[in-house]
Amino acid sequence: MQRRSIAFWLGAVVFLAAMLAMTQLVRNEYPFFAGYVILQFVVLAVAWTILGGYAGYVNFGTNAFFGVGVYTAVLLVKAFGAPLPVQIATAAVVGSLLGLGVGLLTLRMRGIFFSIATIALAIIIETSITNFRFVGGAAGIQLQRPPVTAPFDSYVKMLFFVQALLVVIAVAITRGIQNSRIGRGLHALRDDELAAECTGVPTLRLKLLACVISGALMAAAGAPAAMYLQYANPDSAFNLNYSVSVLAMALIGGTAHWIGPVLGAILLGATQQLLAVTISSEVNVLVLGVMLVLFVVAAPKGVIGLVQRQPKRRGGSK
């Protein structure tokens, strides 16, 4: 356990160092544009897995949390010209409150009821933003980037690194949950909520906690998107594609271990980026659907299920 932790943190430091070095050495900006999107999906997919994978609650409302993150940032920039870290931190707080709200509202809902409730919530929030003229309303809003901070020489590179930082934070939190009593509690809740409750697992509190953490991370991942696009409109920020993609990434990667959504997001995110600039037609939308269906039918445990043949055994201690 101890050894694994050291390895994990060492890996995280190496990853961040490599990303930082990349921003300093690579002059071409395209890898950062594409990389930013992929990293953003890694955060979203990992955050989704806390609720969708560990606890078994399928959240269709990823777009609601993402959009709330985007618009928290827009509001802060418009009202106070707040800097990026403040935008992200506030988005995380708002996202956690939204998560708490979702949790409280759906306390008694299971399975698809929960999923439908999250769709409904996404539409309500999108409608509210559409009617909120201060942040541009339906017409959308264009934003100006402030000057970039050293040591970065372009804003996109900085956003790329910030998103890499968020990846590490999201993965660390998720890994922490997985290895703790919370994770085992969520697992019990997923297998049989009633039985878990009877054996003394505080199911309601655990579910709320999962909603809060997952929501905070998703909104935090959305916040930098405002500055990445320098434009926000409700249509793009609350696009259902975020929900579908994130769901697909988590399930394709596998939801039993935090590495699953990371792999899924990198795999699918990179494929999408690649297809966008190669085939460039309906086919790349088709790929998402086909991959999703293929994986849930043929590889129920996702990529990690294919790789790691050994059954559960070591489950708790990874």
Partner: protein
């Protein structure tokens, strides 16, 4: 010796002769863009792209631009704002294109405006609306004939006021383009002293407009300004046809997107009669310029193969014109230097198949050429009827006018 000299000369001459050929094999000029080919804007995007492709083929047949072949690098942006930053970064940093065209429509264009401004690049805009009003990029040129932002609503509302209208109803889709238009319509109404009696924004997913039309009728407006998107435009006209709008309405329409596309026009047929709506090109006598006729001959042939809008009036000729403007600027400045091209485009009038184009400071047309035209004598289920003049009579602007408004609306529908 003599022989050798002769051979030498021959070789030299052959070499000289080869020189132009070698020049012609210079690397092609690459023009990069994203274009909506899936998602909500795909119908327009594909037609626009075909217009640009026809220009590319024409100019290559004439020997290319500055003696170099023109190549297009096009990616699909799925009609979404979140795709374009990465695509344009790739066009610039990996594909190293020489020139940039913007994607069709405002939403995909908005996120790349700061990028091109920051890098000081020329961007030829493609039918976006007020996308440069906050960014103030001085190397941006919109191919769309909108002109000053309020000229659109001005055209329609002035027509209504001339027909005796005093009150106005405003029905708009709750999406970016329609909302931007609605804002200018409110301003213009204030200027013209029109009383706004009904002002509603409807949600994009609305299925049924009977209730809204009913509520609007209760306010008895003289002028009905509608800013709507393709699926809603059809549904609104159906509801209007069924519920009616009453004899008080002098003029109906204005900014209904969708009534420019052949598939929608064919579906709606006679339902469109009487509606006054915007367009950018129509087969009316006043709209033919040098090369216009030839363009549409080619377009109608290629549209069938490419499975895009068979008429292509709205976007395609402006895609071609976008190419023509770059061509004119490059030929005049004899270079692809972007600052030079921008300077030329600012200072000169370009002759294109959609008429002469002069730009204002902000990169929009100096003078609006947005048409307001009335549908007349349209029959059901027939695309080809729209190819002949008289089906959409141009009422505005005056210099392109081909007829007068028939009013009130209910009478014009007969």
């Amino acid at each position: 010796m003599n022989r050798r000299l002769l051979l030498g000369w021959a070789a030299a001459i052959t070499l000289l002769g080869l020189m132009p050929a070698a020049r012609a094999e210079e690397p092609p000029i690459r023009i990069g863009m994203s274009m909506p080919q899936t998602g909500g804007l795909a119908g327009g995007g594909k037609a626009s792209l075909l217009g640009i492709e026809i220009w590319r083929d024409d100019i290559n047949a004439r020997g290319g631009l500055l003696g170099r072949k023109v190549e297009l690098v096009v990616y699909d942006d799925k009609s979404s704002a979140s795709e374009t930053p990465a695509i344009y970064a790739k066009l610039l940093d990996i594909d190293k294109v020489d020139l940039l065209f913007a994607p069709y429509a405002t939403v995909p264009t908005a996120p790349i405006m700061p990028l091109v401004k920051q890098r000081g690049l020329l961007l030829m805009g493609n039918f976006s609306f007020q996308v440069n009003s906050k960014v103030h990029h001085d190397m941006w040129f919109n191919n769309a004939p909108w002109g000053p932002a309020d000229s659109w609503a001005t055209g329609f509302l002035t027509l209504g006021q001339k027909a005796g209208g005093k009150t106005m109803a405003l029905l708009s889709a709750d999406q970016e383009f329609a909302q931007n238009l609605a804002t200018t319509a409110r301003d213009v109404a204030k200027k013209l002293d029109l009383n706004v009696v009904f002002d509603q924004a409807y949600p994009p997913s609305l299925a049924e407009f009977s209730s809204i039309v009913r509520a609007m009728n209760a306010t008895k407006p003289d002028i009905v300004f509608v800013a709507s998107y393709p699926p809603d435009s059809a549904a609104i006209l159906r509801a209007v046809n069924e519920i009616g709008v009453g004899d008080n309405v002098r003029i109906f329409g204005g900014a209904m997107v969708g009534l420019q596309f052949a598939a929608v026009m064919e579906n709606l047929g006679s339902l469109m009669n009487g509606v006054v709506n915007f367009n950018t090109w129509l087969p009316e006598p006043s709209m033919y310029f040098d090369g216009t006729k030839e363009f549409f001959e080619t377009y109608s042939k290629r549209a069938v193969e490419a499975k895009v809008d068979p008429l292509g009036y709205y976007l395609a000729p402006y895609g071609y014109a976008m190419g023509q403007m770059v061509e004119a600027a490059a030929n005049a400045t004899k270079s692809l230097d972007q600052k030079g091209l921008a300077k030329y485009l600012h200072e000169n009038t370009m002759q294109t198949i959609v008429g002469p184009i002069t730009f204002a400071e902000n990169g929009e047309w100096k003078e609006s050429s947005t048409l307001e035209a009335q549908f007349r004598g349209v029959k059901d289920k027939n695309v080809d009827q729209f190819r002949s003049p008289g089906k959409q009579v141009i009422l505005f602007p005056d210099r392109l006018k081909t007829g007068d408004l028939i009013t009130p609306f209910e009478k014009a529908r007969e």
